[in-house]
Each structure stands twice: as C-alpha cells, then as structure tokens.
Amino acid sequence: MTADPAQPATLTDEAAIARVLAGDPSAFEAIVRRWQTPLVNLAWRFCRDRTRSEEMAQEAFLRAWRNLAQFRGESAFSTWLFALAANVYRTEIRRLPATLSLDDIAEPPDPRLAVAAALEETSRDESIRRAVLALPPKYRDAILLFYFHEQDVPAAARTLKIPEGTVKARLFRGRELLRSKFARPSSRTRRLSNAASLAAHQHKEAQ
C-alpha cells in the first residue's frame, strides 16, 4: 500500500502508528478505516447485535489507541489488534452476555416455510450460530475465532494467545458439545415442535 503523507486515511499501519505516537491523533483514522469492518464483524459474531457490535468495536479501537505504545512490532499489527479486540469482546460478553438461551437455539423451522429451502438453510445457520454463542466461553471463542480467521488455526491461536494444540482440542470439544445440544432438544422445543406439527396438519386438512 502506498502512503500519502497528506492523507491520513491512506497511511500504512506502521506509518499511522508512528504518526500517532509522534502526537498526531488524526493519523489513527487510517487504522480505523482499514480495520473497522473486521472488528465490527468480529464483535457481531460475539453478540449478534448490530448496535452493540459497533459499540464494542469502538471500545476496542479506543483501547488500541490508548495502548498503541505497547505495540512493539514483534507481530503483525492485525494480530495485535485482533488479540486486543477479542479480549475486549470477551470481557464485554462476560459482563453482559448476549441474550440467548439454549431453549432459543434448536428451534425447528416452521414447517409451513420448509418448502422454501433457502429460508430453511438460513434458519439452520442462525440456529447453529446461536448454539455456538451458548457454548462455554472457551469453546465458543475457539469456534468463533477459527471461523472468523477463515479456518486458520494458527491465526485463531495467536488471537486467543493460546497454543495451536489447545485451539484444536477446544474446536473438537466445542463441536461435540454443539452436536450434543442439537441432539437433545429442550422441552420447550419439543412443545413447539408438536404445536407446529399440529398447525401444519390442520392447515393441510383445511385445504
């Protein structure tokens, strides 16, 4: 990337950091512009709430700004930034968990919509995402970071600051837990399934 000293937004990360540390806060805009989408998306995966994910990402950027002098350049800036952001998000989610419960997870798609395969697939995806958020934090974080980094175990390990072997073990255990949650539907799910089934049956008979 070419750096244009006149335009802070086009600075490289290294140049922006140097300028910020030299006392030019506006140079941080280049970092914000470059990393806002990944950071908001990572926050989104932790909370699944657009407003909150932007608030969390803003907090992560603020934390990065305050601790920029601690970045020694030993790793890529993105590694440092993601690790810091993941830490902020995990703390925030621990303080105020995403409003999900296992009862809300394994909901079957409405049978009347089952004909629409795309809708069903979307519903299935959402169920999986919510189920992952309801996992114990260490398994949830491993799965979220692994897929956020496009299934890159070393990148997830660097962000979580844990060994790669630990990430793999947590991924394996997390997936197992996830499957067990789906295999064991809650009483509410069973009740809703029965109701949906009955409604579909009545609808069919009425026709």
Binding site: E29, N41, A106, R124
Partner: protein, 141 residues
C-alpha cells in the same frame, strides 16, 4: 381429525462440520459498519486525546506514610513474636471474664506485659497517624 404421532422429524439434526463452516462463512455472516462509525470512533479518540493525562500516583509524598505503616507492622510482628517466645511452657489459666476484671490486673501490672501494652498502643497510634496522613493526602488531590 388425526393427530400426527411422529414428531421426531422436527427435532433438528446435529450440525455437521460443513454446516458449521457454512453458518460462519464470512460471505453469509458479516455486517458492514454504519456510515458514521469511523467518524464516531475518531470523535471518541479526539475526546480521549483532549482529556488530561491521568495523574500519576504521588510516590514521593506517599513514601513517608508507607514507611510509617511498614515500621508499625514490623513493630507489631516483633511484639507478637516476643510475646509468643516469652509465654511460659505450661498454660497459665487467666480469667478473662468481663465481669471479673480484677483477674487481669496481675497480668497488666507485670513489667513485661506493661511493655507489651505500651508497644501495642504505639503501633496503633502509628497506624492512626498513617491513616490520617493518607486521608489528608487524598483530600488535597
């Protein structure tokens, strides 16, 4: 009207690895920051930059107080250790009833125990002085 008996078809199957990967694929599960997001972050940073730097802890002013507390604690530990070492081998039955306070008088009148009382009072006094000093120090900030 017939009631369906087999509801098991509505129990979702456990997700496969491919399904989990699909659910979290970036092209399916991503959002874009709102248009004002970067401006909002930069405003927060400008506000943070304009704020005065946090006041460092006044180590120079606090040092005498910390030293006083350390000395008081050391004295207290010394007194307690000397009390334990000076205790007789055989347990002495001392009446500690609040009603019969006269039983404590021989204990207090002995020279050694009087020293202990004095040193304990000095230690407590040092602690109180340190606390007052710190409260005044904090009040001036």
């Amino acid at each position: 009207m017939k009631t369906p008996r087999d509801n098991s078809k509505f129990i979702p199957a456990p997700p496969t690895d491919a399904e989990i990967a699909r659910a979290f694929a970036s092209q399916r599960d991503s959002i874009l920051p709102s248009s004002g997001f970067s401006a909002s972050v930069m405003a927060a940073i400008a506000h943070d930059a304009a704020a005065p730097a946090p006041i460092p802890f006044p180590w120079k002013r606090a040092l005498p107080g910390i030293a006083a507390i350390a000395v008081a604690l050391a004295l207290l530990v010394t007194i307690l250790v000397s009390m334990v070492l000076a205790a007789p081998a055989a347990p002495v039955a001392v009446q500690t009833s609040a009603v019969d306070s006269s039983a404590l008088m021989p204990f207090l009148h002995s020279t050694q125990n009087a020293n202990i009382v004095v040193w304990t009072a000095v230690t407590i006094g040092a602690c109180i002085v340190s606390l007052v000093y710190f409260r005044r120090l904090l009040a001036t900030r």
